[in-house]
């Protein structure tokens, strides 16, 4: 299967500046990330807050300028030409890119302008990309597609519940018939029963339209349910990447093991022995030397604090960045 987006040693660093603009340090939000997102699949990115999940997605969208490395678009995404590098795109090219990739953010109320009608909200991307013909009809169609009533076109966002608002955001993201959707914590602000509705909707849409998803979340059970391939991030680096099922049934990296064991199990009889990590996530501005995870790692050795372990293939399709995993 061909790939949609591929990153090669992608890095996005933010400088910390003082009042006069002198550089005091670097926050390495994304640091040397290699991922390949294949067509029609769901790629999950999971990690705690501040680990760089969102920055990675923004860099892929071209919203954040990468410091080094490259993001390559597959032939499917770059209309005819072989492969395009996002870093080389001009304004028009970026605009075209954003037509191909839709985005759904976490907080639907924050993503919808409270003073615009649903009609205007959904039509706005079509106006910007000059596809004004039959706009109204298209908007109605989109609303139906996400399970809302076409009569809702003339209402304001505050008249909807959280789940319905998220549906509007999804409808807007689909307005330009994108090939790929970036879903940044789409259900974190929602209740369990609404969350399942939205997840089901996303799955249906994927099946119907053959979409590719990049699914960002901190909720591991949601990731497990949605994704084909999962990358676990910690302080800007990928520590483990493999098929969703293998990752959850047999996590290799000690951080992934701790994360997976932290999923609260529903059966009180089956209360597993949880691996409770000591301490907090270190500041990304000043990450620990060697393996970023070593101060919290239960199995760390002397070597871990000196050399950063490279991502290596342990089994087929299963990459882990740890010295000690065999």
């Amino acid at each position: 299967m061909s790939f949609m987006v591929k990153t090669k040693l992608l890095a996005t660093h933010f400088p910390i500046q003082d009042f006069f603009g002198r550089e005091l340090g670097l926050v390495k939000a994304v640091d040397g990330v290699n991922i390949t997102i294949t067509e029609g699949s769901t790629f999950g990115i999971v990690g705690e807050s501040g680990c760089g999940k969102t920055t990675l997605a923004r860099t892929i969208l071209g919203l954040e300028k990468s410091t080094s490395g490259s993001t390559i678009l597959g032939s499917e995404m770059s209309e005819g030409t072989e492969e395009t590098n996002i870093e080389e795109l001009d304004r028009a090219g970026l605009r075209e890119l954003r037509r191909m990739i839709g985005v759904v953010f976490q907080d639907p109320m924050g993503a919808l302008n409270p003073r615009m009608l649903v009609k205007d909200l959904i039509c706005e991307p079509m106006v910007i990309h000059n596809q004004k013909e039959g706009m109204r009809e298209r908007a109605k169609e989109l609303l139906k597609m996400v399970g809302l009533n076409p009569d809702h076109l003339y209402r304001y966002p505050h008249q909807f519940s959280g789940g319905q608002r998220q549906r509007i955001v999804i409808a807007r993201a689909l307005a330009l018939e994108p090939k790929m959707l970036i879903l940044d914590e789409p259900t974190s602000a929602l209740d369990v029963s609404v969350q399942s509705q939205i997840l089901n909707l996303l799955k249906d849409l994927q099946k119907k339209m053959g979409l590719t998803y990049v699914f960002i979340s901190h909720d591991l059970s949601v990731i497990r349910h949605m994704c084909d391939r999962v990358a676990v991030m910690y302080l800007g680096k990928i520590v483990e990447e493999s098929e969703a099922e293998t990752l959850f049934s047999n996590p290799l990296h000690p951080y992934t093991q701790a994360l997976v064991s932290a999923i609260p199990s529903l059966d009180p009889k089956m209360r597993r022995e949880r691996i409770v990590l000591e301490g907090d996530v270190p500041s990304p501005a000043d990450p620990p030397s060697g393996c970023h995870f070593h101060p919290r790692c239960p199995i760390a050795e002397a070597n871990c604090s000196q050399v950063y372990p490279d991502l290596r293939e342990i089994k087929k399709g299963c990459h882990t960045a740890c010295h000690l995993v065999k």
Partner: protein, 384 residues
């Protein structure tokens, strides 16, 4: 220990009366971890606010009965409530950063609780404190400053009045330099402060914060989210409550920090033997932590029972729907159709009937009562 009977709370709004709670029944036994679980707007928090009399002015408790250890606190006086809040019932809120005062140091915030609810303990400790002859550096430096300034005038001025004044200041500051610092550091206030700091550090140590004395001297924004939540717990425990209400204690935290906090709460419960009421929307957290669980929907209790029974064999259709809506091992995710009703105009009869898959005609007429002994369900169609 805690018993809530038929609690009804209403909010008066411009759009009408919101029937937030419609006959809530709870009983919490001594020494257990009790979970209240439900979706946004189901009245979990309103229940705890009603109990603590922390409701906004627009709200009122219409009927019902709440008792703590047999004492009716439904209409307890404000002064009694002040004793109860923090003293007998401690509370932890969802977002630690907004619950902590950003302009007060951690130690000042915790010692406030100690001064209010642990007077006796504080006095006992103050008796024992002997701060020795340590001089208060602030007073010391101000005295040195005054003596230097007055010495300067003393040597310079000839004008008789100012001269005398300067002389007076100079000598008195010298006297103060010798005696006052000792008096100050041995004063009751100073010794109480020492005892207070001691107790603050102890309570911070109790929640396993590394380097508690440093944390005590920092402001909330200097701490990470997990540490802030630990400070909140320390503050709630400083009043030595017998009942701790934890309102979504881990919602704002990351998964690994969440498991740290849950672990901590469990350990503290074992150590102190207090009762914990966990309010949360996360079914996983409840399954992990609680002995008994109450499921709420739209201001009513739909099911109460042992955690193991509820999660292995839920009786009420809402609980069943909620559990099957959780993403898990299976590939298919079922969901409950529709959305939570508007409490301005709740459905008649059973509040769940418009979304219920097994609803019959009488469900929209009769309000189902909570039936059963230990395991209670509020549904017409469920036979126990």
């Amino acid at each position: 220990m805690l018993e809530i009977k038929n609690l009804k709370t209403r909010f008066n709004t411009y759009d009408g009366v919101v029937k937030a709670l419609e006959g809530v029944n709870l009983d919490v036994k001594e020494g257990e971890i009790f979970g209240i679980v439900g979706e946004t707007g189901c009245g979990k928090s309103v229940t705890s606010y009603s109990l603590m009399q922390l409701l906004p002015r627009t709200a009122e408790v219409v009927s019902g009965n709440m008792s703590l250890d047999g004492e009716d606190i439904t209409y307890a006086s404000e002064s009694r409530m002040r004793e109860i809040r923090g003293g007998e019932i401690g509370m932890i809120f969802q977002d630690p950063l907004s619950a902590l005062n950003p302009v007060m140091k951690v130690k000042d915030q915790i010692s406030e609780v100690i001064r209010l609810h642990q007077k006796e303990e504080l006095e006992n400790r103050t008796e024992k404190v002997d701060s020795g002859n340590e001089r208060n550096p602030y007073i010391l430096w101000s005295l040195i400053f005054v003596s230097i300034v007055s010495l300067f005038y003393f040597l310079k001025l000839e004008d008789s009045f100012t001269d005398t004044l300067a002389k007076l200041l100079f000598w008195s500051s010298l006297v103060g330099y010798v005696f006052l610092p000792e008096m100050e550091s041995n004063s009751y206030r100073a010794r109480t402060a020492v005892a207070e700091t001691e107790m603050v550090v102890e309570s911070l140590r109790q929640v396993r914060l590394p380097n508690p004395s440093q944390v005590a001297n920092s402001y909330p924004h200097e701490l990470s989210g997990g540490m802030q939540q630990r400070v909140m717990i320390a503050m709630a425990l400083a009043g030595r409550p017998r009942l701790l209400i934890a309102d979504e204690p881990t919602t704002a935290l990351d998964v690994t920090i969440q498991s740290q906090i849950l672990d901590l709460l469990k350990k503290l419960q074992k150590e102190t033997g207090m009762t914990i009421v966990m309010i949360t929307h996360d079914l996983g957290v409840v399954a992990e932590m609680c002995d008994r669980v109450t499921v709420m929907y739209a201001g009513t209790v739909v099911e109460t029972g042992n955690a193991s029974e509820i999660f292995s064999d839920p009786k009420h259709p809402y609980t069943q729907g909620l559990l099957s809506a959780l993403p898990g091992e299976s590939k298919e995710l079922s969901s409950i159709g529709g959305s939570v009703p508007d409490l301005l105009d709740p459905p008649s009869g059973c509040r769940f009937n418009p979304r219920c898959s097994i609803a019959k005609a009488h469900c929209s007429v009769d309000v189902p009562l909570l039936k059963g002994e230990d395991y209670k369900v509020a549904c017409h169609e469920v036979k126990l």
